[in-house]
């Protein structure tokens, strides 16, 4: 995935990826990535967990605004299950301008 990401970024489109395999992402070095220590097959969360999915998607979009160094890899603080997601998506603001 990081390899695909690099090719897209190289051709002038800003990219962000969500990863659940930190070692692989460290090796591939995509431009921007968010790491979650979550089970394989669940990068945006659980089936039907709308707020959990929205939290990760909004974090990804916000990273396009906040990350400024090529190769930035940030660990998201969210726990897989023991986390209250209600209200979290609303707290993630996407309305800052691009720098």
């Amino acid at each position: 995935m990081g390899l695909i990401q690099r090719e897209i970024e190289q051709r002038g489109i800003p990219t962000i990826s969500v990863t659940i395999n930190r070692t692989l992402t460290e090796a591939v070095r995509p431009p921007r990535a968010l790491f979650l220590r979550w089970p394989f097959g669940h990068p945006f969360g659980d089936p039907g967990a709308r707020e959990q999915q929205m939290t990760v998607l909004k974090e990804a979009l916000r990273a396009l605004l906040t990350m400024t160094q090529p190769g930035t890899l940030v660990d998201l603080p969210y726990k897989w299950r023991r986390q209250v997601y209600a209200g979290l998506p609303e707290s993630i603001r996407l309305d800052a301008g691009p720098r």
């Binding site: 190289q10 800003p14 969500v18 692989l24 591939v28 070095r29 394989f40 097959g41 090529p70 720098r99």
Partner: protein
């Protein structure tokens, strides 16, 4: 649809997958490409790219017989109609993703963000790969199919892409 033992292993013993990745020498990179975001997100057309093996039922499935994977991709519409899509990917347990594709490809969530005005719009097409790629398929991915997808995203005048694995 039952996951294989390898699938189970990678899903339940994360350090095994991490160790596999540590030996994945073919992909180590030095320099990092960079393109800054050019406009506010509220004006951006956003596309999703998944490596979770999602495809439409009338598209050819990903090749599961080749041990080194399948570097090809499938174009997806912005809305996946129930019964018109599936997942072909033997290397992860995709039963949950079949129950709700948004856990690997959050098109519904992206549409909600567009409706709320938080992003400009959802791109007219999205792209799907099968993320288990090795050997000679790596240069085919980086030299051919990934650049093709980049070209299609450019043609669609996409402003930002969000990628996610299985």
């Amino acid at each position: 649809m039952r996951p294989s033992f390898l699938t189970w292993l990678f899903s339940h013993v994360p350090w095994l997958a991490e160790r596999w990745a540590a030996h994945y020498e073919g992909v180590k990179s030095a320099d990092v490409p960079w393109t800054p975001l050019r406009k506010p997100l509220a004006q951006c057309r956003v596309a999703l790219v998944t490596t979770a093996g999602v495809h439409l039922t009338d598209q050819p499935p990903f090749d599961m017989k080749d041990k080194q994977g399948d570097p090809s991709f499938r174009e997806l519409p912005p809305t996946l109609e129930p019964g018109r899509w599936t997942i072909t990917h033997d290397y992860y347990d995709h039963r949950d993703a079949l129950a709700d594709v948004n856990i690997v490809l959050p098109l519904d969530r992206l549409r909600e963000l567009a409706a709320a005005g938080e992003i400009g719009e959802v791109a007219p097409r999205h792209f799907s790969f099968m993320g288990h790629i090795d050997g000679p398929h790596i240069p085919e991915l980086t030299g051919r199919t990934a650049p093709q997808v980049a070209g299609l995203l450019q043609a669609d005048r996409v402003d930002a892409a969000v990628l996610a694995p299985a």
